[in-house]
């Protein structure tokens, strides 16, 4: 019951979010700020996570296949497939759900508690659209770029780890990377990323915007935002995989 009511409230809020911006110049300004806050600021940490993640995938694969029957290009091939299909789109999105989700919810929640949202409403500003819409647009446009960067860096990390630990040769790794490459996999990954980006910002925005109470609840709202956007990502990951890969 509670969940159904929340979903209803979420949909009602989204209808307010997706109305024409009051003024395109104001929207552009907000969009650039959010692009900086939600996208550019995550670049460094996404890069670090990706390199290490790719390295671990490659090393794990190399360690676990000791059979002479398995071809040498397997490490490169497996690394590429895991990174493109799951690690970059899903793990990075889950990570961003933590980083961006808590930020969005606490920022909007604080504005709720300190009556800044009421102040916007009094002026006649559609506060839901003003606050949440630029965040959604920024994430939907920038997360795919972050994920593409993550794919390259993860594969680089995998290659570097394989070569440096002597678990495989550069030539074989690269051979594996090039084997049966399908652009559809990238399309699938980016579609997921875009859906996840929408879920992260809209779900977190919802939890911040609709919170009640004081400063203590802001912390709770941001925890809830992270939990619910992560769950939404996991559920939609399953749904989208069913739809896109079957």
């Amino acid at each position: 019951m509670g969940l159904l009511r929340d979903i209803g409230a979420y949909l009602i809020l989204m209808r307010r979010v997706f109305t024409r911006p009051e003024k395109s110049s104001v929207f552009r300004h907000q969009f650039f700020i959010e692009g900086q806050n939600l996208g550019i600021d995550s670049l460094g940490i996404v890069a670090i996570i990706s390199v290490f993640m790719g390295a671990v995938v490659a090393i794990q694969t190399a360690f676990n296949i000791d059979s002479p029957l398995i071809p040498d290009w397997t490490v490169g091939f497996t690394t590429r497939q895991s990174v493109i299909l799951e690690f970059s789109p899903t793990i990075i999105s889950l990570f961003l759900a933590g980083k961006v989700g808590s930020r969005v919810a606490s920022e909007i929640g604080t504005m709720r508690v300190t009556e800044q949202i009421d102040a916007l409403e009094i002026m006649g500003v559609n506060s839901a659209a003003y606050l949440i819409f630029p965040k959604i647009v920024a994430a939907v446009l920038l997360n795919p770029i972050l994920v593409i960067i993550s794919m390259f860096l993860s594969i680089f990390g995998g290659w570097a780890a394989t070569v440096m630990t002597g678990l495989g040769s550069s030539v074989h790794f690269i051979e594996g990377l090039q084997l049966e490459f399908s652009l559809y996999d990238v399309f699938y990954a980016l579609t997921k990323t875009i859906v996840f980006a929408f879920l992260i910002t809209s779900v977190s925005g919802f939890h911040g915007y609709t919170m009640k109470g004081g400063a203590l609840e802001v912390g709770r709202a941001s925890t809830r935002a992270v939990v619910f956007s992560s769950i939404a990502i996991i559920v939609f990951n399953l749904i989208l995989t069913q739809i896109l890969l079957s």
């Binding site: 003024k23 604080t110 300190t114 009556e115 800044q116 409403e121 009094i122 006649g124």
Partner: protein
């Protein structure tokens, strides 16, 4: 002029406002007074549409605000300025950007025009040199003054102030009160102020509504409030030593 006609408001089964009718007059500082919990903030939030009333009407110069849609209300809201209890300044913007914000949102003024207007409003509240600071960098009293500057940026016809001087020292409180009073008369604004500060009541109360447990118990002005024999209001007014001495 804002006319309140028989409005009621409940939260769950708790009746907060009971059949309140009152007329807030233009060019005057209209006060809503009453004890903590008597429903002042709720009444004010009903007036500006942050809460919907259960019954009754709210008329802004004969326009029935309570019956309007969000988009219709927008037009009225452009004529409204509001000062929140905590200031409600936008943390992510400087003082000047806060004052400019409504102008950016609702006018097509050039950058220079907006800056001039912001400077004028900040000057009016004696804060011309703080434009570059962020809300976190100024004091509570200054925040309230910035909030006043932001509220008057659009030349409002109606100004709402929720406890403008709570949490301030008596002198600063007085400065804020007088500022609101002067602006009201200067620009012929219909001003509504929530307060439980007797000092404000006596200094700036042109037209006073006394709320008691959600009911309108008394109306009058700063001159007549000391001479009424309503027991509830006497209890409220003469609750401090200072006012009791005043009576003697």
């Amino acid at each position: 002029m804002i006319e309140v006609q028989h409005i009621s408001k409940a939260f769950g089964d708790k009746q907060v406002l009971k059949d309140v009718s009152f007329c807030f007059e233009p060019g005057k500082t209209n006060l809503i007074i009453g004890q903590s919990g008597s429903g002042k903030t709720v009444l004010m939030k009903c007036l500006v549409g942050l809460f919907e009333v259960d019954r009754g009407g709210i008329l802004f110069h004969d326009r029935d605000f309570s019956a309007m849609s969000f988009n219709q209300r927008k037009e009225v809201r452009k004529e409204i300025g509001m000062l929140f209890q905590g200031g409600a300044l936008f943390d992510s913007m400087t003082v000047e950007e806060n004052v400019i914000f409504p102008l950016t949102m609702f006018t097509n003024q050039s950058r220079e025009e907006k800056k001039d207007r912001a400077q004028f409003c900040l000057q009016r509240v004696n804060l011309q040199d703080t434009g570059h600071l962020y809300p976190a960098e100024i004091s509570g009293g200054m925040k309230k003054r910035v909030a006043i500057a932001r509220a008057i940026a659009m030349n409002p016809k109606y100004l709402f102030c929720d406890e403008p001087n709570s949490g301030l020292d008596p002198k600063t409180a007085n400065v804020i009160d007088n500022l609101i009073h002067e602006i009201t008369h200067e620009f012929n604004i219909t001003t509504v102020v929530n307060t439980h500060d007797m000092n404000s009541v006596l200094e700036i109360g042109d037209n006073i509504a006394f709320l008691y447990q959600g009911e309108l118990k008394w109306t009058g002005d700063s001159g007549s409030i000391l001479r009424t024999d309503s027991p509830e209001i006497n209890d409220f007014v003469f609750s401090t030593e200072l006012t009791r001495r005043l009576k003697r």
